[in-house]
Symmetry: C2
Subunit: 198 residues, 2 copies
DNA sequence: AGATTAATTGGACAGATCGTAAATCCAATC
DNA sequence: GATTGGATTTACGATCTGTCCAATTAATCT
């Protein structure tokens, strides 16, 4: 009746390791050709871990996917300081677009497939919408420095910097920075090209 | 050893009817709250048809979904003649955008979910990419009437008229024609606002 | 009318997959 | 050496897919 408390760096590290391996395995499977066959069992085997462990660590398959999504976002290391410290509107937009395109490109297949699954998985869907809203907030904050940006324009640019837009424009081996350039140009045209009169 | 051939309007009509009912049931389920639970069994029950019939008619669950996707496109009645007979670039683009936005809006949830499933279903994915390519062809044909449109711009406008863009911009109860307007304006800005020099 | 066929049904089955439960093992910690 | 946290093993129930096959019903041909 006196439960001792056992803290340990070693055990904790080992647990981290299995978690890390599971996520890495899931990611690799999702990036591969047989990604439709992604299963708790296949992930466990690929991670050289028992199936039960996956459930112990992540609770459920959806938990594993959510954790993977988070891990991607985290280790993606998105740094928006360049966008926020850029001198002008154009430079800021270019930095913003390049940052996100770089992120989308870093794990294109995995992100695409996770987003597909998110449509059928409410929890994953929430997580994803949350992240997308963060991008929208970022855009809002970015444009608060400049004047005369309508909410509608922000919405459109929000979609221009979305994964789906990157994914569509990157078709046919178009370079990532090239895609970012297209997006930046489009955003700028929308911001300045709207002719209120004629 | 002399297999007679039985043709009949009545039987054929009855078969059409069960097929129609199955598709209608699938569509309704996909539009509802419990769409994650869409199952051959639930579809069959909702259509008041045996599970086996679904397999007889569509071969597999994926066949049912593909048929539904096709049915949506067909009965969506997309008519691009207005876009192709419009006097000028702006009118043509507006008609094009409105036609597609109207289609996307006609079954927004179902289309969204089908597209999500398509990520995990290679056959459905092909079908969907085919349709999207048709939109791209349409755009190319549309702009062949006008000069100076770069392939890059077509790609961007292609994505602007994609379902994902409509879906994102229609968030928060934004009117369909309003979304079409945003898309048209963005496309026009991209076409004319690209400043080649400075 | 009677034979024949098309369309559908019902039940049973194998195989995957998810998720849970309980007993056990092992190594790090007290 | 006893205890604990983490991982494993095995077993199980539930759901869903897809297949097989015998049986049923109604329309069509002769």
């Amino acid at each position: 009746m006196s439960p001792r408390t056992y803290r340990s760096a070693r055990r904790q590290a080992a647990a981290e390791e299995t978690r890390r391996r599971a996520l890495a395995a899931a990611r690799e499977l999702l990036a591969g050709d047989a990604f439709t066959k992604i299963t708790v069992d296949t992930v466990a085997k690929a991670a050289d871990v028992s199936r039960q462990t996956i459930y112990n660590v992540f609770g459920a398959k959806s938990g594993l996917l959510e954790a993977l999504f988070d891990a991607l976002a985290t280790q993606g290391g998105m740094d928006l300081t360049e966008a926020f410290t850029a001198p002008g509107e154009e430079a800021a937009l270019a930095a913003f677009a390049e940052t996100f395109c770089g992120f989308w490109a870093s794990d294109r297949l995995v992100i695409r497939r996770l987003r597909g699954m998110a449509v059928l998985d409410p929890d994953l869907g929430r997580l994803l919408r949350e992240r997308d809203e963060m991008r929208r907030s970022g855009l809002k904050a970015l444009f608060s420095r400049f004047e005369g940006t309508t909410p509608e324009n922000i919405d459109v640019i929000w979609q221009l910097t979305a994964f789906e837009t990157y994914d569509a424009l990157a078709e046919g081996d178009r370079d990532t920075s090239c895609v970012a350039g297209l997006i930046t140009a489009a955003a700028l045209a929308i911001l300045h090209g709207s002719r209120p009169g004629a």
